[in-house]
């Protein structure tokens, strides 16, 4: 079994970072699966096979969306930028630039630094006694 989702030694990563990495890896896999089904559907001619694969691709849409929502909930700055881009009509790039600038509060660093975030990211503490 591989542990390719970790870029740093897993034993040095806190549990929250390992969970985050797992969901990022899962998000990537779901996006790949959506792309693969899209290609298969583009060349398939059997209507029954098409119906099966459409249903399967729908599952991947769901999985991808759940992974994304989890990651956005754990990452306030990412969530804030996504809120400025997703489900909006108009120029995607323009929305992206505006959302990034808003989220980083124009601090000029472009790094998503501490001044631009705010949430302490504490969330649930289930499993912790101290």
């Amino acid at each position: 079994m591989g542990f390719d989702q970790y870029h740093e030694p897993p034993e040095e990563l806190p549990p929250a970072a390992r969970t985050f990495a797992r969901l990022c890896a899962s998000l990537t896999e779901e996006a790949e699966a959506i792309g693969w089904y899209e290609q298969r559907l583009a060349v398939e001619t059997d209507p029954e096979a098409i119906a099966v694969m459409r249903d399967a691709q729908g599952e991947e849409f769901k999985h991808f969306s759940m992974d994304l929502e989890f990651l956005l909930r754990r990452t306030p700055a990412w969530r804030e930028i996504a809120q400025g881009i997703l489900f909006r009509s108009g120029d995607i790039v323009e929305h992206g630039e505006e959302a990034e600038a808003e989220a980083l509060e124009g601090d000029g660093s472009g790094t998503g630094g501490a001044a631009g975030q705010g949430s302490l990211g504490i969330g649930s503490l289930r499993g912790s006694t101290r």
Partner: protein, 266 residues
Amino acid sequence: MSHLLRSHAPISEASWTLLDQEARERLAPALAARKLVDFSGPQGWAFSATPTGRTTALESPAEGVSARQRRVLPLVEARSDFAVARQELADADRGAPDPDLEALDRAAHQMAVAENVAVFHGWPGSITGISEATPHDRLPLGQAPDDYPRAVAGAAERLLCSGITGPYGLALGRGQYRRVVETAEHGGYPLLDHLGKILEGPIVWAPGVEGGVVLSLRGGDFLFESGQDLSIGYDSHDRDVVRLYLEQSFSFRVVTPEAAVLLAPS
């Protein structure tokens, strides 16, 4: 721009990181409710109310039309102000390892206590706490720590009688927690371990709680929904100090009142 206005504060990136880390370290040990109840969110600062699924019948606006109004649980906003000396932050930027952040520490503790009190005992007019909702009679903890196992076992048994399965958790007020941690029973067995075996779940330090609360951890019984999770925002500054605040918004619902038993302090 976020309403926290952090980029307007005369605070360096390094000092923001220091303040955020200090706040996390002070909050996490004291946020007892988050260790025991279901947590969802954060949904963001603009999120104002938790849907309840309930409605209230309205008078018909016109013949042939019936009407209902959705009932929601409005979020509460909690804010704790504090000030930090600019000199302390400047010294921290120079590498001073011991900046005076006592006001932040105090605000963090106050915020944690407020959250614990809201969840376990309620917030008048806004939140019904666990001890207000439970239909079970309070069980006395007893005068001596040696009495605690009997009370905790009684609470667990009462939950079982109500069909509430475990594991169970125990939130203990400051004095009660200290007594548990410092006590070994007759055979030298730590009281903390004995209670843990009865509960099959955690025992947490819960400043703000009066006595103790035994509650089921099976999930779905106690719901904490975060709007904006705990954050530090900027208020104002002068030559000497920066005025900041800790803030969050949340709602809390008791879905299964039977799933908790209050242990009254003696």
